[in-house]
Amino acid sequence: MTMRDPYSERQTTFVTPEQVRLQLRTAGLGSRAIAHLIDALLLLAASALVVFGTAGSIYLLSSSWFPNDGYDYLFAGMFLLLIVMNVGYFIVMEAYRGGQTFGKKAMGLRVLQASGQSATILPVVIRNLFRLLDFLPMGYFAGSTAIFFSRADKRFGDMVAGTIVVAEATAEQRKRRARIDKRIARLQAKGLLLPDLAGELGEPERALLDERDWQLLSGWAERLDPKPPVGAQGLEQRIWLHFTEKLGHSRAAYPDSRPYLAALYLAVREDWEL
């Protein structure tokens, strides 16, 4: 499974007061960059709205685009609003909305303290002030380099504030699940008929499947491809052979490997996922 590729493995561990060891995966450069891009676009849109709103109201009030005087306060207010908005957005969202800006939420990321607790206002303020430093010399070069070399994917702001950005396994799984569902639905629309396996699989059959079988099956589902490369077709066949043999299904009843495996995946998925 891609989730546990050794090279993307960057974990941080802490122990809860209940003496349970929790492992969190820190978020890498890519997902964080995308999250920031989303946030930046949102802020850009909001800023444009403020600027055009101000310009529009000035035009309505004075029926001229560039009045000579009398609108200082509007301008100053706009100026301050823009700054407060662009700085405050990250701080307020990260401190009071569970460590997630909209972009981070979309990517399934969360800001936590390095101790595993929710980030409080001070660390959040610090890590966001340090954006200035991480941005240097341009485009978050310093921050990206720091993330690249840091053991827990920390940019400078994270190092000073003692925070980490973690990738939530649940969000990742939900996304993968939706992707697989979409693929199977697309195949069904193209005429793939799924046999009804859910009713047929009883308790004893389900118990026959073990951890490795599930990994095999979900790995297959993840790589489900409408036009598989030539080599992969034989593999699909072999997986089909494996499961029909293990579950004692007659191969004549389920002659096609793909619909059989898809139905099997959908039938047993709930047993393995949360």
Binding site: T16, L24, Q117, P123, L129, T170, A207
Partner: protein, 345 residues
């Protein structure tokens, strides 16, 4: 028990925990006692389940996902004293002055450096008027005309100028704080350079014989502004100091803690910059008699000093009664956490 059976048996409880978690996570969540009890119970059982899975199926996807759930529940359950518990008003009234008093040596160092820079800048430009060109950006030095300082500057929109100057100053202050990661080295540069700028300008005006006018146009806002810059510089120096002199704890931890205290110090300067910006936008350029402007400067100085002295006194009183230790605990304990503790008790 094999993993599937285990998962199937406990899944409803996990789903319930997930649901409760979503409910409690809402901004205006008002859970009742029964819900809270249930939440804690579910969290504990999920923790136990996780421990089981980690032992018997450590590599499984279920262990990973359950770990995620437990960690989110853990964050929700142990969030006490986190976001929203700090008391901004109390901090402003007496927490900030008290913190100022504790960091006085660092703030004084920043102030001394800035004044030293000012002196150097003054002497350099006095001896060699062309030196001002190396201090100021090209073009700006040419536009300085001491004779026109007191002219009515009708074309300048005070509200806009006020807002711009204020944000620019806050930026310098933030930079002074950030430069703490350079262990205070860049802070030295920032303080000295900004001082030289003011000193150089003062020399230009002094040579034209407009010293009295110049300071009348600097001091009304300058008193508060300089104080805020000193404080920001002090916050940067404190971080550097804590890195070199960490005391008993590991350097990394102490540095992070110092950064938090310094950030608090920096946040406290924002109201000062707002006040300074307002004065700079409205009072400084106004065509008032120069004496009145010096009067304003004196007034702001007195008000600021009174605020510091009174606030620090009150702060010591509040802390003496609250945590019964006051200064005896040394400078390592985090003021922010003390506020929160008192807020709850």
């Amino acid at each position: 028990m094999d993993t599937t059976t285990f998962i199937r048996r406990h899944k409803p409880a996990w789903a319930e925990l997930e649901g409760l978690l979503a409910q409690l996570g809402r901004r205006k969540a008002r859970p009742d006692a029964a819900q809270l009890d249930r939440f804690a119970e579910l969290y504990r059982s999920a923790s136990a389940n996780l421990a089981y899975l980690q032992t018997h199926a450590p590599a499984s996807e279920a262990a990973l996902l359950l770990g995620d759930l437990v960690s989110r529940a853990h964050n929700q359950l142990y969030a006490g004293g986190a976001a929203g518990r700090s008391k901004p008003l109390e901090f402003l009234l007496w927490g900030f002055p008290l913190l100022l008093k504790r960091r006085l040596p660092f703030i004084a160092l920043a102030g001394a450096l800035l004044l030293l820079g000012e002196l150097l800048g003054y002497m350099a430009v006095r001896d060699n008027p062309a030196a001002i060109h190396s201090l100021l950006p090209a073009g700006m030095a040419d536009r300085i005309d001491p004779a026109r300082t007191a002219d009515d500057r009708g074309d300048i929109n005070s509200a806009i100028v006020s807002a711009e100057i204020m944000t620019n100053n806050i930026r310098v202050a933030v930079l002074a704080f950030l430069s703490g990661v350079t262990l205070g080295l860049f802070t030295i540069y920032l303080m000295a350079f900004n001082g030289m700028l003011v000193g150089g300008l003062a020399a230009v005006f002094a040579q034209a014989g407009y010293s009295y006018t110049f300071w009348a146009y600097i001091l009304p806002h300058g008193v508060i502004e300089l104080a805020a810059i000193f404080i920001a510089g002090g916050s940067g120096f404190y971080m550097g100091y804590k890195f070199f002199v960490p005391g008993e704890l590991p350097r990394g931890i102490v540095f992070v803690q110092a950064a938090k205290e310094s950030a608090l110090l920096l946040l406290g300067t924002i109201p000062l910059f707002v006040i300074a910006g307002l004065i700079e936008g409205y009072i400084t350029p106004a065509s008032l008699p120069l004496e009145l402007k010096y009067g304003v400067a004196g007034l702001t100085l007195a008000a600021f000093a009174a605020y510091c002295v009174y606030g620090a006194k009150r702060g010591e009183r509040e802390q003496g009664g609250g945590s019964g230790g006051g200064d005896a605990r040394g400078s390592l304990s985090l003021p922010a956490s003390r506020f929160r503790k008192e807020g709850r008790s």
